[in-house]
């Protein structure tokens, strides 16, 4: 075991890193109530006025709508494609298997600008107009990997002999899927889908190249911040978005605890 002094030093370092991670988030929560529309510190007074303004802003509503649609469609596509690929990679040995898994990881391993640029030149070259659908395609490319990784990790931990046992007991493919695979897989799909949706909802680097005239919420915020306009609205949206991150974090915690139980249960 480490010496006391080492442990103490590690603890202090950890505490400082936690502060570094959290103080900025806490600050933006305070700024959301800034009475002035000048963003200096300390803020002169508190108001909830900007939440009202942000809620009724037409631009914000439209952008949130587009972000929700794009996120949902991209996540749906990613769930289908990602889990199909994960099944194939986990259950079969075939020529080019390594290459397939490498290609799937590329969109997150390569800089976002590459994905954005390449999709953009692909659309330009094929005379495809930029629309909601091109945003969805862009988001799906990196969402597939997220689902793929989650499902693959889960499948690797579950034993293939379970499937053979199910078949030996007279189950057909559907029953095996429903009663053996699905219970193991469902939490991985929820976790993967959630992560994919969150990534899509927040994405800006690839989206810029695939969005055309449409504004997703991050693109709208980016525009506001660049021009230094509507910063009180940005603060209010930031407050809400940080509050919303509690949902995926809590779910991730719960899912991890649940899968922990499953892993222990099957490890016998």
């Amino acid at each position: 075991m480490e010496q006391r002094s080492t442990r103490f030093a590690l603890g202090v370092w950890t505490g400082l890193v936690v502060l570094f991670l959290w103080v900025p988030l806490a600050l933006i929560m305070v700024y959301a109530f800034n009475k002035s529309n000048v963003q200096s510190w300390p803020i002169p007074g508190f108001t909830t006025h900007w939440f009202h303004v942000a809620w009724h802003a037409e631009e914000v509503r439209t952008a949130v709508g587009i972000s929700l649609k794009a996120g949902t469609l991209a996540t749906a596509a990613a769930l289908v494609l990602g889990s199909a690929a994960a099944f194939a990679i986990a259950r079969f040995r075939f020529f080019g298997r390594e290459a397939v898994s490498f290609v799937l990881i590329l969109p997150i391993a390569l800089p976002g600008i590459i994905t954005g640029m390449s999709l953009n030149s692909f659309f330009v070259y094929n005379h495809i107009n930029l629309s909601l659908w091109t945003i969805v395609i862009g988001h799906a490319t990196f969402c597939v990997v997220i689902v793929y990784n989650n499902v693959l990790a889960r499948l690797r931990r579950s034993s293939p002999s379970l499937l053979e046992a199910s078949a030996d007991l007279g189950a057909d493919g559907w029953q095996t899927f429903r009663f053996v695979i699905w219970p193991v897989l469902s939490t991985a799909l929820v976790a993967g889908g959630l992560l994919a949706f969150a990534l899509s909802f927040d994405e800006v680097v690839v989206t810029f190249f695939t969005a055309g005239a449409q504004n997703t919420l991050p693109l709208l915020i980016l525009g506001y911040i660049r021009l230094g306009q509507q910063l009180p609205i940005v603060n209010a949206i930031a407050f809400v978005m940080i509050l919303l991150t509690v949902i995926p974090v809590a779910l991730a915690q719960r899912l991890m605890r649940d899968t922990g139980v499953v892993a222990r249960g099957t490890a016998k």
């Binding site: 590690l10 969109p107 391993a109 800089p111 330009v124 057909d172 095996t176």
Partner: protein
């Protein structure tokens, strides 16, 4: 088995299951076809289109793309010192950010994996996950408010009686913001790698007479290295391909490759030139990933 109304359906399903059992390749093909087609037709085709279009050029008057094969875009990049320094700045800051995050993350991950237990570990997990899940754009924006002349940092320094700093809209700001936003991506794989080291290895090392430092250097560090490299893939690649942080936190002298690409597409409509410049981070990442793969970082992702 009792005859039931659903029986013909079940018989069909059993036949189908039997078919897939006998012809396993059919199942594999059926599973692989949709993702491979989607990726092959769109993503890979796009990557190829990007590479191809970088050898084309744009008519300066009509801004129409001319399909004439030329190395002009690459020649401009190579010969212009401005573009060279932008490329070097991008790679340099990406490396600095990766190093900073590794430095911040390692003791944190070590504490989390080997010292903290139960509740405190859960708390630290949440401490990392919350920033990871919150909006990237917002987290960049906060730092503008912090680093501004009349922001929180200078206010705090003034209260402490320290001299004020002028970090806003400089490369220092870009470095700080990048290190902040990508830190969780480094902490998680580092923690994962450290947690997987069996405690018995460390005990064995101590039993064989190694000092604490020697154990750390010869047992813990080599085993944790794939985790650090896995994290560095994120921090390095994410910084390399970013244009938002330099745009929002940086100043006139903070242009990244991404910013040139962004304005080439968004303002001057010169896709071929943007494509040519975008191949630079592509090449850098290809080299980086090859090295990372050799060092076993992919298993730690």
């Amino acid at each position: 088995m009792n005859p039931r109304p659903g029986r013909p359906l079940r018989a069909a399903r059993l036949r189908l299951s039997g078919f897939f059992w006998r012809h396993r390749w059919a199942k594999a093909a059926l599973l692989l076809a949709p993702p491979l087609l989607a990726f092959g037709l769109i993503y890979l085709a796009s990557l190829i289109a990007l590479f191809v279009s970088s050898f084309w050029t744009v008519d300066p008057f009509t801004t129409e793309i001319k399909h004439i094969w030329t190395f002009d875009n690459y020649r401009t990049l190579w010969e212009s010192s401005a573009y060279r320094s932008i490329a070097l700045r991008t790679i340099g800051i990406a490396a600095a950010v990766t190093f900073t995050d590794a430095l911040l993350a390692f003791p944190f991950g070590y504490f989390m994996a080997r010292v903290a237990s139960g509740r405190s570990r859960t708390f630290l997990f949440i401490a990392v996950l919350l920033p990871l899940w919150s909006s990237y754009l917002i987290r960049v924006y906060i730092w503008r408010l912090i680093l501004n002349e009349d922001g929180v940092l200078n206010w705090t320094l003034a209260k402490l009686g320290l001299p004020l700093v002028h970090l806003a809209y400089t490369n220092w700001a870009v470095w700080i913001v990048f290190s902040y936003v990508w830190l969780p991506f480094m902490i998680l794989p580092v923690f994962g790698a450290l947690e997987r080291i069996p405690h018995s290895y460390i005990e064995a090392s101590r039993d064989l007479g190694a000092s604490g430092w020697a154990t750390f250097r010869r047992v813990v560090l080599p085993l944790a290295l794939p985790g650090v490299i896995a994290g560095s893939i994120f921090t390095f690649s994410l910084t390399l391909g970013d244009y938002v942080t330099p745009l929002l936190a940086g100043g006139a002298g903070s242009q990244f490759i991404g910013n040139v690409v962004y304005s080439s597409v968004g303002i001057s409509n010169n896709v071929p030139f943007a494509a040519a410049f975008a191949t630079v981070p592509l090449a850098v990442m290809a080299v980086y990933l090859t090295i990372a793969r050799r060092m076993g970082a992919f298993e730690a992702l």
